[in-house]
Each structure stands twice: as C-alpha cells, then as structure tokens.
C-alpha cells in the first residue's frame, strides 16, 4: 500500500492498517508508518512491545500482526501453485 492511498484509507470507518510500535506509556503508544508518527491507544491489546507490528483502526491497536503467520500465507500460496489438480 502506498502512503497516499493510506491517508485516504485512514479516514474510513472500518479499515485498519499496520503500524510499528516505537514507544509505549500506559494505555498509549507511539507508532510509526512510513516515517509518520502517531499516538495510538493500546488498551485492548495485551502484551504489546516496542517493535511489534500492530493493526490500527480508528486510533486503536486492535491486533498484533503475526510475522510467522504472514510468512505462512506466502508459503501456502507457493504450495497451492505447485500442487497439481
């Protein structure tokens, strides 16, 4: 996703986009995407750490992005393409 797309999308009610956590203090954290920093609310996520990628919606981190699982998606794709019917 390119940055200008992102800006448009951010205003939308139900979309969420990934950010990286830079620092945290209580239920708030500072997160970064493409060098743009922003304060987000992390109260509905347990166990958020600096450098985690989180999905942000309406100013709230709603889930951690699982890097392993992201990789699995790509592996799965590779597997399916190799599989013969």
């Amino acid at each position: 996703m390119v940055p200008d797309d992102r800006e448009k999308i951010e205003e939308k009610v139900c979309l969420a986009v990934p950010y990286r956590i830079i620092s945290k203090h209580g239920i708030k954290a500072v997160a970064d995407v493409f060098g743009i920093r922003k304060e987000i609310d992390i109260r509905i996520l347990d166990d958020v750490n600096v450098n985690d990628y989180v999905l942000v919606h309406a100013g709230f981190a709603i889930q951690k992005l699982d890097q392993e699982a992201a990789k699995t998606t790509l592996d799965l794709l590779r597997e399916i393409s190799e599989e013969q019917i």
Binding site: C14, I44, L45, F60, I62, K64
Partner: protein
C-alpha cells in the same frame, strides 16, 4: 485497470488452478455467486481485476459491507434532526454526504450547523471538554469499531463528562448474514468474510453458516494474494462438499478474536433489534447502551422523534446490499447518481459498492 496481479506469477498460477477447478462439476454449467461482506473487499476485487478475470464464471455480490451504507434513511433523518436542534455533531467523514429524506449533514454544515469529523471517537472527549454545548457522536460501526466506541463511553463516565452522548447505530455482522440467508431470496454459494470485523469476533460466530446452510466461509485479508487464496478456498470447498469457516487471514485473525475487545463491548452494550437499509428490522443485530450507561444515549437525552421515510426514489441500494442486484443495474448509476452527487449511501463511501463500480468497474 485490468489485471494488476499480472506481475505476480504465483498468484497467476493459483488463479489458473481455480480456472481449472471451475471447469469441473459442479461449476461446469453455472456461475458461482460469492458475496463479499466487506466494502474494502469489494474495492480490492474490482481494483485488482478479479471481477474482470472471472467474468461469467464468478459473480461477485457486494453484501452489507459498510456501516454507512446499511444505515437506514430514518437513522440519517435522526442525525439531521439532532443537528437542527443545535447540538454539535461528531462523526466519521463518510456519513456527512449521505442524504437523508430532506437534507444531508453537509447541507446542515453549509447552513452553519456544527459538525466535527473525527477519525478516533475518543477525540469527542476533547471536543466535549472544550465546549459547553451538547456533543453527540454518531456511533455507526461494525464489530471493528464498537470496542473503540465502548472505550469512549467508559472514558466519558470516568471523566464525568456530562455534555457528551452517542446516537447508537452500531450493527453486528454474523446476525445479519444469518438473516440474509433465512429471509432474503438470494443464491449465495460462498462468503468472503470481513477481515477486520473478524479480528475482533474471531472465527466462531460464522460457524452457523456452513453448519446450518452448507455454505462455505473464508476470512480474508485485502491484498491481491489474500483475495486469490479466498477464492481458491471457496471453490475447493464447494467442489469437495466440505463447507467450513476457513481462516486465511491468520496473521491478524485469531480463532477467538480479540478477547479484551469483546469484553469491553459486553460491558457497555447489549443486543437490540435494529433497522438495516435494504433488510428492514433485523432482530438482535444491533447494540444499545446498557442501563447503567443510559445517560449517554442521545436518543433518550434529546427525545428524537422521526418517522420512517421511503428510500430515495429510484435508488436500489437495498437490493445491492442484499446481493440481489449489481450497482450497474440501477437506472440512476453514473447518470443522476455519481460520487459528487450521490443519491444513495452506496455511492457516498469510498468502499460503497456503487462508488467502487463507478471508480473501478468496466462494465
């Protein structure tokens, strides 16, 4: 536009396999109807060229994928009536252009009414703090947004903010899908379930769909790869007669969803019947504030009295949302109704089906 995934050779291979599967029974002599629930999926399917690629083989139906699109005309009229009472409205940007039976928020703004666009509902706390006026947040949203709205209420209570309330127009997705299958005539062969709603609710609430109706569900992300994998899953499930809820967005959707978020929703809201555009009243598909938070309910606080009003003349948004018609079948599409002059809500929002077709559709 055309096929934007053309550089991704793996994805192309995958799609060619889906193509092969589609020539085998039970698809050989009929088109499949897949409904995407999320407006953002509608955009991806059009934008990356999937609709074009699978033309005649897969018919993509846009479901009730946008909280703005499914907000009834009557509810928009309530919002307008609040603005006319002189309260300060806070809302997500998408809602501003949606026409009610007589006016839109945008027109009210032109008339000098106070309307604040917020990205984070918690911003309403600041707005309420800086003014003595009454502030009403128009609480539209599906499960993705509802925990944030619950947090707003809890914070407002804790901070003892007296001049803030919400107009509760929230809706829940799984109940609506069940209603769609039971009460509205359509021929849906599979569902592409919304990624970010599922982040909160998890996989389980969809289970009733394969179990009761034998219809497969895939939870999907929004990149071209995700859409490709979702289509592949639906087609293979139908072919093998093994309908399940297949989670292809495991990188953010956990089986049980986000438990803390669900707890927050539970603490602040309870189920209620609500009206959906296109569906009418759907039992237990909406949320209202629990008794102990009822002073934050704008509907009670301001005694809003608005009668039902018919849909805009000629607009078929209701049928589009129910998966019965495509935007291009609307006589007003791209003629009287365009993103600059929207008649119905599906043309207003970026992810509304009509606006997505207007922007990316080639039919």
């Amino acid at each position: 536009m055309k096929n934007k995934f053309k550089d991704n050779s793996q994805l192309i291979q995958l799609l060619q396999q889906v193509d092969k599967l589609l020539t085998l029974s039970p698809f050989a002599d009929r088109q499949c109807n897949f409904m995407e629930i999320c407006g953002t999926h509608t955009v991806s399917i059009l934008k990356y060229g999937f609709r074009n690629y699978f033309k005649k083989r897969i018919n993509f139906l846009s479901g009730p994928g946008c909280p703005v699109c499914v907000t009834s005309q009557k509810d928009i009229d309530k919002v307008i009536s609040l603005a006319q009472m002189g309260v300060r409205i806070a809302t997500f940007g998408d809602l501003i252009k949606v026409p009610g039976s007589k006016s839109s928020l945008e027109e009210q703004m032109a008339l000098g009414k106070e309307v604040n666009v917020v990205y984070n509902p918690l911003d309403c706390l600041k707005i309420a703090d800086e003014t003595d006026e009454e502030v009403v947040f128009i609480a539209v949203g599906f499960e993705t947004t509802i925990p944030v709205i619950a947090s707003l209420i809890l914070d407002a209570k804790k901070l003892r903010i007296e001049n803030l309330s919400i107009l509760p127009l929230m809706k829940t997705i799984p109940t609506a899908l069940n209603f769609l299958l039971t009460n509205l005539e359509n021929e849906i062969d599979g569902f592409i379930c919304p990624g970010h709603v599922s982040v909160i609710i998890g996989e389980r609430p969809y289970k009733i769909i394969p179990e009761k109706y034998g219809i497969p569900c895939v939870i999907a992300g929004f990149e071209p790869v995700d859409i490709g994998l979702a289509i592949e899953s639906l087609v293979s499930q139908i072919r093998k007669h093994t309908p399940i809820v297949d989670n292809r967005y495991k990188r953010v959707v956990k089986e049980k969803g986000n438990i803390s978020a669900r707890r927050l929703i539970e603490e602040v809201f309870e189920k209620t019947d609500v009206e959906w555009r296109g569906f009418g009243e759907v039992p237990a598909s909406g949320l209202k504030l629990r008794e102990k938070f009822s002073k934050f309910d704008a509907e009670k606080k301001f005694n809003i009295n608005v009668k039902s009003s018919p849909e805009p003349e000629g607009c078929i948004c209701g049928e589009v949302i129910a998966g019965k018609k495509q935007p291009v079948e609307c006589p007003l599409f791209a003629k009287k109704c365009t993103p600059d002059t929207p008649i119905g809500p599906c043309m207003v929002s970026y992810e509304g089906a009509c606006s997505a077709f207007y922007k990316y559709g080639e039919e």
